[in-house]
């Protein structure tokens, strides 16, 4: 606690020194600084950028962990990283990549794009949006400071009981997992609800459900999945927390608990989670493929239906992660069939993408390269998924490197390619400049080839008997070549990421400014300037069909028909409360990690106090008057 006060005073002190000392205007100056602006922002575009920066940072952390894993596994009987240290790296790699990289980067794209695609001025709950981000960030930070204070979680990203219980994982590691994920998970749940309400309520006139761009549809279905999948995780994490901190016995066999219940709860959340990760990527690819093929998406209605069906079936298949638990032949067969059924809507989507490209005029920008690289990669990951759905075969594949290969094909080939495609595609809309295409192509080819070189051999490592999550392997079982190639591939991916970083740095420092519609786009985000003004649309557009902007362009119109006269625009006020609330949760989480309930309670008091303040605060937002709009150069 003292540490935190010292840090706070130190931060104020630094702020004072660099802005001209403590004077009567200190507070006012602080409020006007750009850092304060970013901390208190409720603008969806800026929150998107915050998600992008933090997700990108943790991508570097998780990638570094992956490289350490591959260095240890490059040669047999290596001593670089053994035993529990390896387990910490492995657990944090998985947890970081799923919760702190993939999800926030997808939220970055959703925040940056969805309100623009539906013709809205912000999300439905801007305050909640900021709170969701800061809670994710507090949780992510809490998880990662475990490296410095007491050791990281070491029971895998699935954190199965009873390995994760205090008897077998006595340090604070799994406490960090439980509390970090709890805090960031609730943030995610808020953001999911926010996007659901936004898409239901904030669509521009004429933007009916069946005119929504595919990325918005994907966000919609994903948000519904978040709404139903995260509560089980929250409940499960609470039980695990009580087992670890307060000696309850939900999962402890000696106390009458059951270890299988955790597996059920985790996968009831965990399987929808993989669709939460991949559906937004599907949405990105649909938009990118359609845009750079210069064609509308093939079979729009069945694409939407397939999304919804995948989301629905995603809740019916969790048991396929638990075939080897021994739940019996009937349960295994039912869940096997349900799992195979998911491949039908997924297949529909793949063929619709192919036929969107069919007959088009394909322009291979970097975004398009990622989208087309995705199709082959994802099909390879998808078919191994169906192979894994066959229970007797899964008894061989399960928890071997075959599974590692499978889910990396799906998550890298689906989610990460999707994020990269989206970043290249929407970068001009987010930052007002275009990423370098030449560096982008280098980035794509090294990353793409590196990815295949890393994970393709791992299918065979699994078939040759290498279990997953092992810190070493023995020579003489033909595992040498596969492991060697896999590590080389990982470094090739590192080179790819370095190209990306250089590209971003170059673009930020001296990128050419982008026009409002650099890709000859089809959807509403390309009708406004890059980056868009704070209020997005001076006048909300009137939508007349799928691909609203393309429709207008084909009819020779130079802008969207406005659906309202120019008037005062209602905007939400910035607020520092989300940040304070997240700080409170961070303090509380940190206290509970070390079982010092006093500190935990202080943090919770901060949270409750901010909740109280917010509840009684009269915050009606502010209006931007037409006069100000014209001063900023908007044409009437």
């Amino acid at each position: 606690m003292t540490t935190i006060i010292v840090l706070l005073v130190f931060a104020m002190f630094l702020g004072g020194i660099f802005t001209g000392g403590y004077t009567s205007r200190y507070v006012k100056r602080m409020e006007e600084s750009s850092i304060w602006g970013w901390i208190t922002t409720v603008d969806h575009k800026r929150i998107g950028i915050l998600y992008l920066i933090s997700g990108g940072f943790f991508f570097a952390v998780g990638g570094l962990e992956a490289l350490l894993i591959r260095i240890q596994l490059m040669f047999p009987n290596a001593k670089f990283l053994v035993g529990d240290e390896y387990n910490q790296i492995l657990s944090m790699h998985g947890t970081t990549m799923i919760f702190l990289v993939a999800m926030p980067l997808l939220f970055a794209l959703m925040n940056a794009v969805v309100p623009l695609q539906i013709g809205a001025r912000d999300v439905a709950f801007p305050f909640l949006n900021a709170l969701g981000f800061w809670m994710y960030f507090a949780g992510a930070l809490l998880l990662n400071i475990s490296w410095l204070f007491g050791g990281a979680p070491d029971a895998g990203w699935t954190s199965y009981a009873s390995l994760a219980l205090p008897d077998y994982s006595p340090g604070p590691g799994v406490n960090y997992y439980v509390l970090g994920l709890q805090i960031s998970g609730i943030g995610t749940l808020m953001s999911g609800i926010n996007f659901l309400v936004t898409i239901i309520n904030m669509r521009a006139p004429g933007m009916s459900y069946l005119r929504l761009p595919m990325f918005t549809w994907a966000t919609f279905v994903t948000s519904a999945l978040i709404l139903f999948a995260f509560p089980p995780l929250t409940a499960g994490l609470f039980m695990m927390m009580f087992d670890r901190l307060f000696g309850s016995n939900f999962f402890s066999v000696t106390g009458g608990g059951n270890v299988i219940i955790w597996e059920h709860i985790f996968w009831i959340f965990g399987h929808p989670e993989v669709y939460i990760l991949v559906l937004p990527a599907f949405g990105v690819f649909s938009d990118v493929l359609s845009n750079f093929s210069k064609k509308r998406i093939f079979g729009y209605h069945s694409m939407v239906f397939a999304l919804v069906l995948i989301g629905f079936l995603g809740f019916m298949v969790w048991l396929h992660h638990m075939f080897t638990v021994g739940l019996g032949d009937v349960a295994n067969s039912v869940f096997a069939i349900a799992t195979m059924a998911i491949s039908v809507p997924t297949g529909i989507k793949v063929f619709n993408w192919l036929f969107t490209m069919w007959g088009g005029r394909l322009r291979f920008t970097t975004a398009m390269l990622y989208a087309s690289g995705f199709i082959v990669t994802f099909v390879m990951g998808g078919v191994t998924g169906i192979m894994l759905a066959v229970p007797p075969a899964d008894f061989q594949f399960h928890d071997s490197y075959f599974v590692v290969a499978h889910f990396h094909y799906v998550i890298l080939g689906g989610t990460v390619f999707g994020i990269l495609a989206g970043v290249y595609y929407w970068w001009p809309k987010m930052f007002g400049s275009l990423l370098n295409e030449k560096l982008g192509k280098w980035n794509f080819w090294t990353f793409f080839l590196g990815m295949h070189l890393t994970f393709f051999p791992q299918h065979f490592l699994g078939l040759f008997g290498m279990p997953r999550r092992v810190f070493t392997w023995s020579p003489g079982y033909r595992l040498e070549l596969g492991n060697y190639l896999s590590t080389i591939g990982a470094f090739l991916m590192l080179i790819g990421v370095i190209f990306m970083v250089i590209n971003v740095l170059l673009t930020l420092t001296k990128g050419a400014p982008a026009e409002s519609d650099p890709w000859d786009g089809r959807t509403l985000e390309w009708t406004i300037s890059s980056p868009p003004p704070e209020y997005n649309f001076a006048q909300l557009p009137l939508v007349r069909g799928v691909d609203a902007w393309w429709l207008e362009k084909m009819e020779g119109n130079e802008k969207m028909t406005p659906s309202e006269p120019l008037g005062a625009i209602h905007m939400p006020n910035a607020s520092h409360l989300p940040f304070v609330m997240a700080v409170g949760l961070f303090i509380s989480g940190f206290g509970f990690v070390f079982q010092t309930s006093e500190v935990g309670a202080i943090g919770l008091i901060v949270v409750i106090a901010t909740l109280f303040i917010r509840s009684f605060q009269e915050d009606h937002g502010h209006h931007i008057e037409p006069l100000e709009l014209s001063e900023k150069g908007v044409n009437h």
Binding site: V259, V344, F364, V390
Partner: protein, 341 residues
């Protein structure tokens, strides 16, 4: 064009590597030596064939599209905005469903088949397996013997492994014989396997179980029936009394240092420890702690610094013993063999 070529080259290279680089039959899903493993491999082949077909169809359409519809320099035409095609969409909904039915029927039938308990006429052998961090206990209830990290089975007879964990979740996997099954605390599980021919098969723990998860190995040694019966008898009539002077000293030291956790039958000990692996007939085992080859030098290294061999193991270090005492321990432990009658 260029990247299609690169991709083709890569695929061809990988395939060659797959077909030439064969796996080790002691640890391999693709070279099974057991009935269950073969049934599973057949399903793997069937699903791979169907899925390869799907992948090839997608790849052909994909490569055609990518080459044929690339933007040529100077090309500015606006493609026809096709809404979709009901016929095509029905085709690629119905064909996958048919393919899945082809896969689902043998899947379900095999799922039920491999769970079926063997009939008494097949002379099944029951072996109780208990998982510990990070070793395996094998108990033969019919013969009344116990061993650790190495399980001997008769080839050609179905083996019923009845499995449970002592602490955290482990998983029992012998790739060459068949698929895996979890060992859970507080819950019994059953796995039926059969070895077709005598041989040594490697086993692994496949559920993350702690620091030395990677080293939680075991061996399945399959014998001809007569040989197996002889092994059972030799274990039942084992004599663990020391024969040389040095070994006698070792036997005494085991009584002082080891017997609290480890059991050695017929060695004159009043206590038989149950926390660690049973050491009866230890000298016959092929490996120490499932990791090192069993020889006096490795045993010495293990006794002096177990954490170096198996991080997180419950075995304490015996480096405080004098060199002579360690020699005596090694001499005695290595002399433990099954009876030769």
């Amino acid at each position: 064009m260029k990247f299609v070529k690169a991709k083709l080259l890569m695929v061809i290279g990988m395939l060659t590597w797959f077909f030439t680089g064969c796996s080790n039959p002691a640890l391999s899903v693709v070279k099974p030596s057991g009935e269950v493993g073969k049934m599973q491999l057949n399903l793997i082949y069937l699903s791979t064939a169907i899925m390869t077909l799907v992948t090839v169809v997608v790849a052909v359409i994909y490569i055609y599209v990518v080459i044929r519809f690339r933007e040529r320099p100077g090309d500015t035409h606006i493609p026809k905005q096709v809404e979709g095609s009901t016929v095509l969409e029905i085709v690629w909904t119905v064909i996958p469903i048919i393919l899945l039915i082809i896969l689902a029927v043998p899947t379900v039938s095999t799922t039920f088949q491999i769970e079926k308990r063997p009939a008494p006429s097949q002379h099944p052998v029951q072996i109780n397996v208990t998982g510990y961090q990070y070793w395996w206990k094998f108990n033969y209830p019919q013969a009344g013997i116990t061993t650790a990290n190495e399980v001997h089975i008769p080839a050609g007879r179905p083996i019923e492994f009845v499995m449970q964990s002592h602490d955290v979740i482990h998983a029992f996997w012998v790739p060459s014989l068949g698929g895996k099954r979890d060992l859970e605390p507080g819950r019994m599980n059953r796995l039926i396997l059969k070895a077709d021919k005598p041989g040594t098969y490697e086993g692994k723990c496949t559920e993350l179980c702690g620091a030395s998860h990677a080293l939680m190995n075991f061996r399945v040694i399959a014998h001809q029936t007569a040989e197996y019966d002889a092994w059972i008898r030799s274990m039942q009539k084992v004599n663990s009394q020391a024969k040389s002077v040095l070994a006698k000293e070792g036997q005494r030291l085991v009584g002082q240092n080891c017997i609290g956790c480890h059991a050695i039958r017929n060695g004159g000990y009043k206590v038989l420890g149950g926390k660690g692996p049973e050491l009866t007939a230890f000298g016959q085992r092929t490996r120490i702690a499932g990791v090192l080859d069993n020889n006096p030098q490795n045993l010495r290294a293990w006794l002096q610094n177990p954490q170096n061999v198996k991080p997180g193991s419950r075995m304490p270090s015996f480096a405080h013993l004098e060199k002579k005492q360690i020699d005596a321990l090694v001499e005695y432990l290595e002399s433990l063999k099954g009876s030769s009658q």
